[in-house]
Symmetry: C2
Subunit: 101 residues, 2 copies
């Protein structure tokens, strides 16, 4: 499995962010083709000091080719456009591949 | 489930980092009490530009109380001391809780 990870820094208005994220954005993400699973985790703290992030999402795909096709889809473009409406400057994306360790 | 997430920025010598991480550090992490699962993912890229991180690890626990006990254990102290020997300045930790979305 491969995944697209989104890390979000703390928004100025967390309640408004959460509404936009969970009520509008996640339903759009779920329409992205070949998406197998979405995991969202709230960041609740850090061992020392304040955590760098507020929320982390992982979107899972079967392999890199499937993720590339998904990234190029109109559904992903719509989800990205929606996200930029409320999370611009807060989000960092990266592609990841799980490894047996 | 709750998890401790570790994000690592790109090391100066990735091969040396990988040896230290997978051969020495992960075996110490596995000795931490109440740890249910470790997931390690290599960061393979980003939709735009260079990714901010090199590696992400997630250590899963049943609940926050179990994670707190694990963090306070001598096994975790040993793993942390080992980590600071090769990843100081590269690692960011945070606690997270998966949410139904």
């Amino acid at each position: 499995m491969v995944k697209l990870i989104a890390l979000f820094r703390k928004p100025a208005d967390p309640a408004a962010f959460d509404r936009a994220y969970f009520e509008t954005h996640v339903p759009l993400v779920r329409q992205v083709p070949e998406l197998r699973r979405v995991e969202v985790a709230r960041i609740t703290g850090a061992p020392r000091g304040e955590p760098e992030y507020y929320l982390m999402a992982a979107m899972y795909f079967d392999d890199r080719a499937a993720m590339d096709r998904a990234m190029a889809s109109p559904e992903n473009a719509a989800a990205g456009k929606n996200l930029m409406g409320f999370a611009k400057g807060l989000v960092t994306f990266m592609f990841a591949e799980e490894v047996g360790e």
